[in-house]
């Protein structure tokens, strides 16, 4: 929680890398990530008063970053339903061609980039930002049970995709 003595500059320096990394991993584009991060901190600065009352500071910060990142995504993909749960968690198909030569961790990153943004986001918030389900629910607006099942679906899809890519690679 933030106390009276903590300033915006302190919050900025404490969170700038995490906010940027979150935006970068979600948007997969450095300039878009920088724009989203910048806009995030402008909004944080404007709402310092709310910051002092936020139940979870990091959830509050990531919810603002999420809005900015999704605003950019919506602009880039105006026709797409970005936040509707779907059976298919993949954004694109057939990553095999590009990933043949990569290491396992590289393939995992590639697969992460191919998940639909809403599933990718769940993994980013959990695995990298280490938010609790309650915090992820606060950030995304989804219920905790939706967070739980979304993470399960994303991981299951990732595991299966990884398995099939590795199998393909070993056969080549």
């Amino acid at each position: 929680m933030i106390d009276g003595g903590q300033s915006f500059v302190h919050v900025y320096h404490r969170y700038k890398h995490r906010v940027y990394a979150y935006c970068y991993r979600l948007l997969r584009h450095p300039q878009n990530a920088e724009d989203a991060a910048q806009e995030t901190f402008v909004k944080i600065h404007r709402s310092l008063d709310q910051l002092e009352n936020a139940a979870s500071l990091q959830a509050w910060i990531f919810s603002i970053a999420r809005n900015e990142a999704f605003t950019i995504l919506r602009r880039l993909r105006p026709m797409e339903e970005l936040e509707t749960e779907t059976e298919n968690v993949w954004d694109e198909e057939n990553p095999l061609e590009k990933v043949v030569q990569k290491e396992r961790a590289g393939i995992v990153q590639h697969c992460l980039g191919l998940l639909k943004p809403m599933y990718r986001e769940l993994l980013i918030l959990k695995e990298y930002e280490q938010l609790s389900y309650a915090e992820i629910s606060q950030v995304t607006g989804a219920s905790e049970s939706a967070v739980k099942s979304g993470l399960f679906k994303a991981r299951r899809a990732m595991r299966k995709k990884l398995e099939s890519i590795l199998k393909e690679r070993d056969e080549i």
Binding site: G4, G5, S7, F8, V9, Y12, K16, H17, R18, V19, Y20, A21, Y24, R25, P30, A33, E34, A37, Q38, F41, V42, H45, L48, R104, A105, V108, Q109, L112, L123, K126, E127, Y128, S132, Y133, K148, S149, L151, F152, R155, R156, M158, R159, L162, E163
Partner: protein, 146 residues
């Protein structure tokens, strides 16, 4: 319960989000089901692979962009900070040029004192440095909120 449902719980288990009772049931199932044990291994492996990724750092330009935008609203911020400062700080606060002038006086005063008192009129560097250090906190205290 089916393996599929247990596997959803596995995902929650590695996130430390499973209730004790559910965990107990899951562990009992794991002790009996090789497929779910394999899934757990593969979940943990996936997590380890994801964690290998080095997080990208915010570019330096972000500092400039954000902090310069903020300085436009600095007047507002200054007001808030003054409210948050201790009474003694508020009472003795002054503007930068004044603080710098006082620090300068200390420095010149220090130089004068050391040149009068130091034997053989040698440049007395250590003493000058001491005076300088003594003067510094004054600059820092009063010039803390530029």
């Amino acid at each position: 319960m089916k393996c599929d449902e247990y596997q959803e719980q596995l995902s929650a288990l590695i996130d430390n989000e499973l209730a004790d009772q559910e965990s107990e049931l899951l562990f009992t199932h794991l002790s009996e089901c090789a497929a779910c044990r394999a899934t757990l291994r593969s979940e943990l492996e996936l997590r380890a692979n994801l964690k290998e990724d080095v997080p990208p750092l915010a570019p330096r330009e972000l500092d400039e962009k954000v902090l310069s935008t903020m300085s436009k609203a600095e007047g507002q911020l200054d007001a808030r900070r003054v409210m948050r400062r201790g009474v003694w700080q508020r009472n003795v606060s002054m503007r930068w040029p004044l603080a710098a002038a006082i620090a300068g006086l200390f420095l010149i005063g220090g130089l004068a004192v050391t040149s009068v008192w130091s034997p053989c009129n040698k440049p007395a560097e250590p003493q000058v440095r001491i005076v300088y250090i003594t003067a510094l906190p004054i600059v820092e205290v009063h010039g803390y909120f530029p």
